[in-house]
């Protein structure tokens, strides 16, 4: 069996699993459509998702194809260096749990801007937060869509533009009809498939090494040199580069709009807490498996065949599946990779649509007074716009190097969204001007610095040198956003915002009144008791 024959040579089994998953997604959206009658159901699944379910859905929302295929590939090609991402993608979750999840659940409604704007002036804060949200969402979406196009082209040998259009269309149908309920269940199914598939593949690999991971690592090191078990210079080039990337990954997680939005789908703060606990467990387990998958691909497939298919190593997990378990399992893993992309783009699109419709339209244009039917209609229009934009950008950027965009999305999330959110929650003296300045400076500095960084100047534009030395801007842009937020707030205090801090605290700890268990359309506005 030549391992890379199957790539670009679609097996019937791969296509079967692929179609099966699309069918499952459509059935879910049909089922969910009948339960999606209000804006609250469209954006927050009517707060009916349990802690465990939301933990799975968070894992499904978060573990992108970049995690699964990209990290396995990085580890397979460079060894230990790939693990810097594995671990960086995990360590933000405790921060989300300790500082963000519960207050967010109790204080907000659909978006994280609800929380930042709670005590502040609505219009400026919401506009700034929408910019922060949309820039994170769009960069993340581009990376996912281009990745999806490449991956599906690689797996099923269909046209790139068609591949992007298929992902975009299935995603749009899913959200337009089934909203957050359908998105949640697709994410749950995807998480189960991804965790199950990765676990099965890892066990299969370990069976070659008498069930001992150390024997696997040893074998990989024997063929490729012991350096693969130690940090090198493939992922981070300089010392401060590593620290900056570490910051972006850790605090970016706590500022990703599509992740934050998921906390509104549970009934209360306690369920929000248990959902992060489950998510951390699943995601941590998954990233431990990437150690085995990556080194497994290195030892069993070998670096050369992996690089021959895709220079970035993205085919490593797929080739490994075929190598150890044959083409049926390869087909299954290929479909899992597709499910992975679909679940993540759905979450991202929904978060972008919420920023457009809930923050910009309902709260800025209509000053929070839009009737329920209008809100739902605008939500669907915004979804359509975001989904269309994702498809267009995905096709337009074919062949571009977009790998840096995930890092950029995390950097903006860490610099623009996270500081404002944290200060809004915990600092009495935070002001409207401080929030706007912090969000804007965070986003703009992250964008400008990444433009002048080696990531763009050297890797994309091919220049010899870059004016800004770090590959990821978070080490500068995140502290800058905090500093600007603090200084501006101190220069011009806002007594009205300060006075309402006690009210916000009250709601953070005592919660909004319990939600009625089942919301009928007519009863939807009655959130109070």
């Amino acid at each position: 069996m030549t391992p890379f024959a199957a790539i670009g040579d679609p097996s019937a089994i791969a296509i079967f699993f692929f179609c099966l998953f699309i069918l499952v997604a459509l059935v879910i959206s049909y089922w969910a459509a009948r339960r999606t009658k209000t804006t609250e159901q469209f954006y927050a699944a009517g707060h009916q998702i349990s802690g465990f379910q939301n933990g799975m859905a968070l894992a499904g929302d978060y573990m992108s194809a970049a995690s699964f295929l990209g990290i396995a590939g990085l580890v397979a090609l460079y060894g230990f260096d790939g693990l810097i991402y594995s671990i960086g993608f995990l360590v933000g979750w405790p921060i989300v749990l300790f500082l963000i999840a519960e207050p967010l659940r109790n204080l907000g409604k659909y978006t994280f801007a609800d929380v930042v704007a709670y005590r502040l002036k609505q219009t400026p804060v919401r506009m700034a937060a929408a910019v922060g949200t949309l820039s994170v969402v769009i960069f993340y979406l581009i990376a996912q869509m281009v990745g999806a196009g490449v991956l599906i082209t690689l797996m099923f040998d269909i046209d790139y533009a068609l591949a992007v259009a298929i992902v975009g269309t299935v995603m749009l149908v899913l959200i337009l009809f089934g909203g957050m309920i359908a998105t949640t269940w697709v994410q749950i199914v995807k998480a189960a498939l991804l965790l199950g598939g990765a676990l099965a593949l890892a066990l299969w690999v370990l069976s070659y090494f008498s069930w001992n991971p150390l024997e696997l690592f040893d074998s990989a090191a024997a063929d490729n040199g012991e350096a693969v078990l130690a940090p090198g210079d493939q992922v981070v080039t300089g010392s401060w580069d590593a620290v900056s990337l570490g910051l972006a990954l850790m605090f970016g997680t706590a500022g990703l709009p599509h992740i934050l939005m998921r906390f509104y789908t549970v009934p209360d703060a306690k369920a929000a807490r248990s959902s992060v606990n489950w998510a951390t467990f699943f995601i941590g387990g998954f990233y431990l498996l990437t150690f085995v998958l990556g080194f497994g691909a290195m030892a069993l497939v070998g670096r050369a065949p992996i690089e021959a298919v895709d220079k970035g190593g993205n085919a490593a997990a797929l080739l490994l599946a075929e190598e150890v378990a044959g083409s049926a399992f390869f087909g299954f893993i290929a479909a899992v990779a597709f499910a992975t992309i679909l679940a993540v783009v759905a979450g991202l699109t929904l978060a972008g649509a919420a920023a457009l419709s809930h923050d910009v339209w309902v709260n800025v244009v209509r000053h929070g007074e839009a009737p329920e039917r209008e809100q739902l209609r605008v939500a669907r229009i915004a979804t359509f716009l975001m989904g269309g934009l994702a498809i267009v950008l995905g096709i337009a950027l074919q062949g571009q190097n977009v790998a840096y965009m995930v890092g950029l999305a995390f950097a903006i999330a860490a610099s623009s969204n996270f500081p404002a959110l944290l200060m809004a929650l915990f600092w009495r003296g935070f002001t409207t001007a401080g929030a706007v300045a912090s969000i804007v400076v965070g986003a703009v500095s992250a964008l400008v610095l990444i433009y002048f960084s080696p990531t763009i100047q050297v890797d994309v534009l091919g220049h010899a040198d870059a004016p800004f030395p770090l590959g990821n801007p978070a080490l500068v842009s995140m502290p800058l956003a905090f500093a600007v937020g603090i200084v501006v707030s101190l220069l011009r205090p806002e007594p009205a915002a300060r006075a309402r801090f006690i009210e916000a605290e009250r709601q953070i700890h005592l919660g909004a009144p319990a939600h009625p268990p089942r919301v009928r359309p007519a009863a939807a506005p009655a959130r109070g008791r």
């Binding site: 230990f80 693990l83 594995s86 671990i87 995990l90 360590v91 979750w93 405790p94 921060i95 749990l97 300790f98 500082l99 519960e102 409604k109 704007a117 609505q122 991971p213 150390l214 024997e215 690592f217 040893d218 074998s219 090191a221 012991e226 350096a227 078990l229 130690a230 940090p231 981070v236 010392s239 401060w240 590593a242 620290v243 570490g246 306690k270 807490r273 992060v276 606990n277 951390t280 467990f281 941590g284 990233y287 431990l288 150690f291 709260n363 007074e369 915990f426 006690i502 009210e503 605290e505 009250r506 709601q507 953070i508 700890h509 005592l510 919660g511 909004a512 009144p513 959130r527 109070g528």
Partner: protein, 111 residues
């Protein structure tokens, strides 16, 4: 904003002792949660940035082999993953056993 600001409609009374007591109790609860959250956040930062700073400034130390197939770097990586599990578990246990009953008591007093 109207829809969920009305949710906080149970404003603290502005006269008499109960509102004052309640406010103090709320401040205490809030400070307690913040203290626990900050301690655990600091612990997570120390664990993770120890790992990152070693990658940044002492690559060769992480390359030390502990036994065949196990470098210090990989061992520490696994330890960081386990630490995230332990710290989240500690927080959830604390919140469910201590914080939740205290918040519930305040909530009932507020009715």
């Amino acid at each position: 904003m109207t829809t969920y600001q009305s949710v906080t409609g149970r404003r603290p009374e502005t006269n008499g002792r109960p509102a004052e007591d309640e406010r103090k109790a709320l401040d205490r609860l809030s400070a307690r949660r913040l203290r626990v959250a900050l301690i655990l956040t600091t612990a997570m930062l120390v664990v993770y940035f120890t790992f990152i700073l070693l990658i940044a400034f002492d690559k060769s130390l992480l390359g030390e082999m502990i036994t065949d197939g196990l470098s210090l770097g990989i061992l520490l990586g696994v330890i960081v993953v386990l630490a995230t599990w332990v710290l989240t578990w500690i927080y959830v246990a604390w919140a469910n056993r201590r914080y939740e009953p205290a918040a519930r008591e305040l909530r009932e007093r507020a009715r």
